[in-house]
């Protein structure tokens, strides 16, 4: 079920009205059933995978809590292996087999194992990491095991953030799911406004820019240098609007029910260093890797070499998290490399003067845009050819699918995004007239300018 669809709007209208109609003690049933239905709308059978993992983690959490010594670690490993096992099976088996086959072909061994022909469960990487954070926090003693199986299941399945995050922590989310939440008109207003803003970013900006980006990336050999640059730059904006738009809808939907999810984006393209970029982009994932991989590995506390290795490991895992393709690894490697360069040249801190800040913002945007080329490309060869096209001027005939007016509109929308992104999120919703004016304006603009070809959110594929 896509957020940008009539199906979701009607589904959500039902859930939110039933949520406040029902007494508190029954709300978790409604949310759990709705979340199950939401997930099953993609591929119904895959809910069984989630049920199995929920049961394993639920039991393991109690066993970890009660056990001592080596047994605690064993139960934690059992839980992690169950989660990661499913992730590896669906997402990485064919990738590993490709590499194994390539290696064995040098020894004249072909087709060592059969390939899997399965569809990746939607949002697999997201709910797997969220589930793992629960048992890890129980192991660390920072979270008590949740006694109520339904509430724990809801923690994993909660539909606003089930398929594309934010990747929540049990300390933040679990208690909210069982708390008695009174109706708050301010929560409802904030939530609906955030959802409307998210729809605007997705339907009006992201899906519009996607037409030029897709044209450039899918037919890169037909592009001139300028149209290729346009496609690449628009992709940077597209992926931001697409993913942050989803996050806004997810956070807004939860907010209408009085649940506060963590912020996932904080104007990352206004960062003045890549270190800062990763504190502002997909915050839930970067903090997950920081807390559960980088810091346990030693972080920056064990010397320069270990620090470099830790950064590389974290970013390579992050690349792999996004997909089983070398292009994702190169994307991650680019970020890691520049992050390390910034660290060793002491360039993480923002300059104080305005002009310096602007230069740094452009630098971060440029590096991340180049890295996005690998993220978006289907192969290293395609990425390489696109970079050649960008670097070596070639103004042969090419066309973009927009006329001049729509192209101008794209730049206006990007300016609107820059100006209003923070303002909408911090908007004072107490004034009813102003709030309704802004909300209905957004809804009207979404209708008038929205592109509704039911394009899936980019991060659903992860």
């Amino acid at each position: 079920m896509l957020f940008n669809s009539l199906q979701f709007l009607v589904f959500f209208a039902f859930v939110i009205s039933a949520f406040y109609a029902l007494p508190h003690k029954n709300r978790w049933i409604l949310l759990l059933l709705s979340s199950c239905y939401f997930y099953m709308a993609f591929i119904p059978q895959y809910i069984l995978i989630l049920f199995a993992v929920i049961l394993i983690d639920y039991v393991c959490a109690f066993l970890i809590h009660k056990a001592t010594g080596v047994k605690r670690k064993a139960f934690l490993l059992l839980s992690l292996m169950a989660n990661l096992g499913i992730l590896v099976y669906f997402k990485y088996y064919n990738f590993f087999l490709d590499n194994l086959s390539l290696l064995l072909s040098h020894f004249n061994i072909h087709n060592p194992l059969p390939y899997l022909d399965v569809i990746l469960p939607i949002g697999l990487s997201f709910h797997t990491f969220q589930a793992m954070s629960y048992t890890i926090e129980v192991y660390r003693g920072a979270q008590k095991p949740e006694r109520h199986l339904g509430i724990y299941a809801l923690y994993v399945l909660y539909f606003p953030q089930l398929v594309a995050g934010p990747i929540e922590r049990p300390q933040n989310l679990l208690h909210q799911l069982s708390a008695k939440i009174p109706y708050s008109v301010l929560n409802l207003r904030k939530g609906l406004l955030l959802m409307a803003w998210g729809f605007f970013k997705k339907a009006v900006i992201a899906d519009r820019l996607a037409e030029i980006a897709d044209n450039s990336f899918n037919f890169w050999w037909q592009q001139s240098t300028s149209t290729m640059w346009l496609g690449v730059l628009f992709y940077s904006i597209q992926i931001y609007c697409d993913f942050s738009g989803y996050s806004d809808i997810a956070i807004g939907a939860a907010k209408t029910m009085g649940v506060d999810l963590m912020e996932n984006f904080k104007n990352p393209y206004l960062s003045t260093s890549l270190s800062e970029f990763w504190r502002r982009w997909h915050i839930s994932l970067s903090t997950w890797f920081k807390d559960y991989v980088y810091i346990p590995l030693g972080g920056s506390r064990k010397g320069a070499l270990k620090f470099c290795v830790n950064i590389l490991v974290v970013f390579l895992l992050s690349g792999l998290w996004h997909g089983a393709r070398y292009t994702f690894l190169i994307w991650a490697l680019i970020h890691a490399l520049f992050l390390l360069l910034e660290h060793f040249f002491h360039e993480q801190e923002a300059p104080s003067e305005f002009f310096g800040k602007v230069i740094r913002i452009v630098y971060v945007f440029f590096i991340s845009t180049i890295a996005w080329i690998f993220f978006r490309s289907q192969s290293l060869l395609q990425a390489k050819e696109i970079i050649y096209k960008l670097a070596i001027p070639n103004e042969g005939p090419s066309s973009i699918p927009f006329n001049a007016i729509e192209l101008t509109l794209c730049f206006i929308l990007i300016a609107v995004l820059l100006i209003f992104e923070t303002r909408v999120k911090s908007y004072n919703v107490k004034n009813r007239a102003n709030y309704l004016g802004l909300l209905w304006s957004l809804i009207f603009i979404c209708y008038l300018l929205g592109i509704y070809n039911y394009k899936q959110f980019i991060y659903f594929q992860f």
């Binding site: 669809s5 009539l6 199906q7 009607v10 589904f11 209208a13 039902f14 009205s17 039933a18 406040y20 109609a21 239905y37 099953m40 709308a41 119904p44 927009f402 006329n403 007016i405 729509e406 509109l409 209708y447 008038l448 070809n453 039911y454």
Partner: protein, 339 residues
């Protein structure tokens, strides 16, 4: 009071959602809206192309009724047809028929029972964009009309599984919800504003809609785009056309063995063929196929008549012909049967 309102609203939303999952209910609802409430959906009131784009100024609600004739004793006419004839013709629109049996390509009902006391005539009709493959797909033709062909249990079981899933996860739910909530006359002005803005400012139309060269007609993009198999402007594959004729001969022989006295094929031109051919270079699919006919393969052709007719044959807002175009085709059928 607030709680009751919330309960009622949530039950209302759930009802709309659940009913939109049910295909049977949606079909009933469409008929109820059209014939009882007189609030037909856009596709019923206006054309299928208009209801995909809502471009203002392209509606065409002229209704031209078909002529009526008397019945006869001799001829049973069977027509395997597509949407061009669906719900549009009756026995009395043809001359001197004893019976008219209509079968749609997409229907599950099939199996003819020929009455050999009468002269049985079969017409296999198709729009140009689906010709000739639809009319030479012997799996469909023989299975639908005669119930021939292997019974495929796994296919049948997969259908059951699909039907079960549709109860809860209907893939058409978005269209059904749009139909239930948004497909009403009073929403058309706002839809037209959006369409006009997108077209006049951004030159945007939905991907499956194009405008004719003279901007007078809405066209199905696949009939215009030369890369599409359905296009009037895609170069013909001569080998494929010859193979088509061989299959058509075999189809005619097969049905004649079963009791049909006469078997005809009839291809209805695309709108794009009529209105865009001068600007774009029509691939001459229809005259090429019809030109290969011989003593064993016969056509009921409207190509020349349509191409040279000064009146409008097709609707501006729809992929289909208007009443005048249909009348011309019926006239041709009557003329052929009478021979």
């Amino acid at each position: 009071m607030k709680r009751i309102s919330l309960y009622l609203f949530s039950v209302g939303c759930l009802a709309v959602y659940v009913l939109s999952l049910n295909t049977g209910f949606m079909e009933w609802w469409a008929d109820f809206r059209t014939y009882t409430l007189h609030t037909p959906y856009a596709k019923a009131r206006y054309g299928d192309l208009y209801s995909n784009c809502y471009l203002p100024g392209y509606t065409d609600t002229n209704y031209i009724p078909l002529k009526k004739f008397g019945t006869g004793d001799e001829v049973d006419l069977y027509i395997l047809h597509d949407s061009y004839l669906e719900g549009k013709v009756k026995k009395e629109n043809f001359k001197d028929l004893h019976d008219l049996i209509l079968l749609n390509y997409s229907t599950d009902k099939s199996v003819l029972r020929l009455d050999k006391k009468h002269k049985n005539v079969l017409i296999i009709e198709s729009a140009e964009r689906n010709a000739p493959w639809r009319m030479t797909d012997t799996v469909i033709l023989y299975k639908k009309l005669l119930g021939e062909g292997p019974k495929n249990n796994s296919f049948h079981n997969k259908n059951k599984e699909t039907e079960w899933k549709k109860l809860f996860f209907n893939p058409n739910i978005n269209q059904n919800l749009e139909f239930s909530l948004y497909d009403y006359e009073y929403f058309i002005p706002i839809k037209e504003i959006k369409a006009a803005m997108n077209y006049h400012l951004f030159n945007r139309l939905p991907k499956d809609i194009s405008l004719s060269a003279d901007n007078n007609y809405l066209l199905l993009s696949e009939t215009v785009d030369p890369s599409s198999l359905s296009s009037s402007f895609r170069p013909l594959d001569a080998g494929y056309i010859l193979k088509t004729m061989e299959i058509m001969k075999k189809v005619c022989e097969h049905f004649k063995k079963l009791g049909f006295k006469e078997v005809y094929f009839s291809i209805i031109p695309n709108t794009a063929t009529l209105v865009n051919s001068k600007r774009m270079g029509y691939n001459l699919k229809i005259p090429t196929i019809e030109g290969l006919s011989d003593t064993s393969v016969h056509f009921i052709s409207v190509y020349n008549e349509f191409m040279h007719c000064p009146a409008k044959i097709f609707r501006r807002d729809d992929t289909h012909w208007n009443g005048y175009g249909l009348q011309l085709w019926v006239n041709q059928v009557n003329h052929t049967i009478a021979k």
